[in-house]
């Protein structure tokens, strides 16, 4: 009975998108009621005439419309519930707190109804009803716990298991398999099938998704996901009857940036993670909810670890940011966290070789060099993966040493850091779904932010929104109009001479998305001024709608701009005699003087360590508490999932220790003290999981005298799979680069 209770709890957890404590408690109490008559009597309601209200299933999404005529009442197992019109029977049961088993239904995909597992009994209906495909009607009486419904589900389960291989002990889906859970809860206790089971040839989808198609139950979730969310027509159903197969028709790899999500939505073990194959069972893993840092979206993830090792990364539900998907880079770069790691402080000796030293010696050497250079010759550079606490410490330290030259990678020569609306996605990621026209300026969201691209694609599919794109030719997985490659097109739109102007004019909620790659241009001020002119001309910004957006590239970018890391990189590096690189691997050091002293603080031995004189090891995002702000301005915290490698330390602690040795002591020595300090610079960075909108519009800015250059926009992300130190250290990402990148 304990095993059954755990199986039911897992089943409930598996069936719901978002497990909740209330749902788990309900399952436990139901089991207790079944086991003990006294407990059953206690659980029974005191007044049978008025049953208590039921809690919706965890993750059930319902918003009652304000107009009473748009709602209706149905009865589920005798309990009355109010739901909006258009809801299906399954959704009504979820609101009523009843879990309906399903294989093919997924709340974010279209309805297929082909698994028949969600059969329920409806009064006045002669046959059981597939609840996911049946609209709920007013006054409908639904019965989910009757002998007819149970027999129907048992029969469906028997048919599904007919050709299913008995290889549960070697299946990677073990412990989190919908088929396992539902056969325990709803199936028969013995099989009657004595004939030969069917075998299906495995397909090759690439280096990420492993296929064992014999286990496939043809629910078509992966087909619908690939078509509707990922936007690639790679998968389909072939054959009919007992010869049905899911595959790619011809030998073809699945070339979507979101292909790893089919592993999550597959209810059986047909599609599993190839890098994770045979590595661990899910009950051995410790899950830690944290934030992704491979791009500026800040997807919510769960890091599954076993001891000191990260075993895999899976998505976590966040309706506003990533819904329940993550990109393949986020999901599969975890082996980069185990390779090329720096674990000891190192000093380069006279012979050019690095020698491991103690922290005390390393910090003493750095402090000694700091006092030999002039204050204005000190430069600090934060990298793409830096958290807000580290950047705050770096800025404070360099400022106290007398220098203003603190900057962040990718923010360009003259970052627009004064007003927050200049560098954030002001519409918000979820708000993009309300748009009806998109103008993409110098940005390719498919490779810069795959989750934002999925949101745009969702809007294009749902409302036929128009997309105009200015930049090098690119493929976005949805229809878009390529307007031009450079600022000249923007000039035409500003002056009203371009045909796309009529589309923008007739739009109700237009959206302009500028790429952060534009920050690197010398004419960035003039370019953004022109974009703001377009926004004013076509009513993109108004009190009830702000459609002017910047799509940032890196996890550190928004927080760096909030904190004011605004130095010019070219000038700062040219004059630097002491250069402090905090995870900054992609900044150009060509102009760095030969006699400059370089300190590299980071977690991976990547490009910049080859120029460093001192190496200080630090923690990766999976090993520390840090604050990150995403491209829409939502502040989120990372939680440590695994211990730090070797003798590495948190970034801000290293700088704090260095400030003590150098004699410019920083006043904080705890994480809460750093965050208090951050609240005096950018208080929005301490409002976790919240977006702080900006009311100061761009109209307060002075006019720009700069002229726009005619240089075309360029591609910012050449290789989607290799964008930072972690992904470059990942073997899985190297395989993806070799096999999936289009030549």
């Amino acid at each position: 009975m304990a095993f059954l209770a755990r199986a039911l709890r897992q089943s409930n957890s598996r069936l719901s998108s978002c497990p909740s404590v209330a749902a788990s408690c309900r399952w436990i109490s139901r089991t207790a009621a079944a086991g003990s008559p006294e407990a059953g009597a206690a659980v029974a309601p005191a007044d049978p005439e008025l049953p208590p209200p039921r809690e919706p299933v965890g993750g059930a999404r319902v918003e009652l419309p304000p107009n009473p005529e748009d709602a209706l009442e149905v009865f589920v197992d005798g309990h009355a519930v109010r739901i909006p019109k258009g809801f299906t029977v399954l959704q009504a049961c979820e609101v009523a707190g009843v879990d309906i088993p399903r294989f093919c239904y997924h709340s974010r995909l279209s309805i297929a109804g082909n698994c028949r597992m969600c059969l329920v009994e409806v009064e006045k209906s002669p046959k059981p009803v597939a609840s996911c495909a049946m609209p709920a009607l007013p006054g409908m009486k639904i019965k989910t716990n009757t002998p007819v419904a149970k027999k129907a589900r048992e029969g469906v389960m028997e048919f599904l298991l007919m050709n299913h291989p008995l290889d549960c002990p070697i299946c990677d889906q073990g412990g989190e398999c919908d088929l396992q859970d539902q056969s325990m809860a709803f199936g028969a206790d013995r099989g009657r099938f004595t004939e030969m089971k069917r075998s299906v040839v495995d397909k090759n989808l690439g280096p990420l998704v492993k296929t064992v198609m014999t286990r496939c139950i043809q629910c078509t979730r992966c087909v619908r996901f690939a078509t509707e969310v990922a936007g690639v027509q790679d998968l389909g159903m072939l054959g009919r009857g007992s010869g049905e197969e899911i595959g790619t028709y011809v030998e073809k790899l699945m070339t979507s940036e979101l292909s790893g999500n089919v592993i999550d939505i597959c209810p059986v073990g047909a599609l599993t993670s190839k890098p994770f194959a045979f590595k661990a069972r899910n009950w051995e893993l410790k899950g830690t909810e944290t934030i992704d840092v491979t791009d500026a979206v800040g997807s919510n993830i769960r890091v599954d670890s076993r001891g000191p090792e990260v075993m895999r990364i899976v998505p976590r539900l966040n309706e506003d940011i990533n819904e329940e998907w993550i990109s393949d880079k986020t999901r599969f770069c975890y082996d980069g966290l185990k390779r090329q790691r720096l674990n000891d402080p190192m000093i380069r000796g006279p012979d050019g070789r690095f020698k491991a030293v103690t922290w005390r010696d390393a910090l003493a050497v750095v402090a000694e060099v700091l006092h030999q250079v002039k204050p204005e010759e000190i430069t600090g550079v934060a990298g793409k993966l830096s958290d807000a606490e580290s950047m705050m410490a770096l800025k404070d330290f360099v400022n106290r040493m007398g220098s203003d030259k603190v900057l962040c990678e990718g923010n360009g020569p003259n970052p627009p850091a004064d007003l927050r609306s200049n560098y954030l996605m002001n519409t918000s990621i979820a708000g993009l779904e309300k748009a009806d026209v998109f103008l993409l300026v110098g940005t390719q969201p498919r490779v810069e932010a795959a989750m934002v691209n999925a949101r745009i694609r969702k809007t294009v599919k749902a409302t036929q929104a128009k997309v105009g794109y200015i930049g090098p030719p690119a493929d976005f997985n949805y229809d878009h109009e390529h307007l031009g490659t450079g600022p000249q097109t923007l000039v035409e739109i500003t002056e009203g001479r371009h045909p796309f102007c009529s589309v923008l004019q007739s739009a109700k909620n237009p959206v302009i998305i500028a790429g952060a790659g534009l920050f690197e241009r010398e004419d960035q001020d003039a370019l953004f001024s022109m974009i703001e002119t377009v926004a004013k001309r076509f009513n993109v910004t108004r009190p009830d709608w702000n459609g002017l957006n910047v799509l940032l590239l890196h996890a550190a970018q928004a927080a760096a701009l909030d904190l004011g890391l605004v130095a010019n990189p070219a000038e700062s590096i040219k004059s630097a005699k002491f250069l402090y690189l905090m995870g900054a691997d992609d900044i150009s050091l060509d102009k760095l003087p030969d006699d400059a002293f370089v300190v590299y603080q980071g977690h991976h031995g990547d490009k910049a360590v080859y120029r460093a004189n001192v190496i200080l090891p630090s923690s990766a995002f999976s090993e520390k508490e840090g604050t990150y702000e995403n491209t829409e301005g939502c502040t989120q915290w990372t939680i440590p999932a695994v211990p730090t490698v070797g003798d590495a330390r948190d970034d801000w602690k290293i700088i704090r220790a260095l400030s003590e040795v150098a004699g410019a002591l920083l006043p904080y020595d705890s994480l809460s003290a750093v965050r208090d300090r951050i609240s005096t610079v950018a208080p929005n960075l301490v409002h976790v999981d919240e977006r702080e909108p900006s009311t100061i519009s761009v109209e307060v800015k002075p006019p720009v005298k700069q002229k726009v250059s005619s240089t075309p926009f360029k591609t910012v992300v050449e290789n989607f799979y290799m964008t930072d130190a972690i992904t470059r250290a990942s073997k899985i990402m190297a395989q993806c680069s070799a096999t999936l990148l289009k030549k």
Binding site: M401, R420, G564, A664, E692, P693, T695, I696, V700
Partner: protein
């Protein structure tokens, strides 16, 4: 207004913090809307960071050389008084520099 042209020589960074909607921050919001363009035109390279956050008391921060910072609470001040406070912070920067 002559002190505004030399603001970037005496101050390294200006930060204005206020709430988006509270009445206590209304003068600070109006001050930024009316004066940001002029200050920025005279000091194009001076960071003038405007940070809005709900529930925050209106504050004006100035950072000088060697990381020294001063803060003025703008609660209860009018726009003219805020302008005066900014000038005082600039003058304080001048005196710090001569030291």
């Amino acid at each position: 207004m002559a002190w505004r042209a030399s603001l970037s020589r005496s101050v390294k960074e200006i930060r204005v913090l206020f709430c988006q909607s509270s009445p206590a921050s209304a003068p600070a919001r109006e001050f930024v809307k009316k004066n940001y363009g002029d200050i920025k035109a005279r000091n194009p390279s001076l960071p003038f960071l405007v940070r809005e956050c709900s529930g925050v008391q209106p504050q004006l921060w100035a950072r000088y050389d060697m990381g020294v910072e001063r803060c003025v609470n703008l609660d209860g001040l009018t726009e003219a008084q805020i302008d005066k406070k900014l000038e005082e912070l600039a003058m304080a920067g001048e005196s710090l520099k001569t030291k």
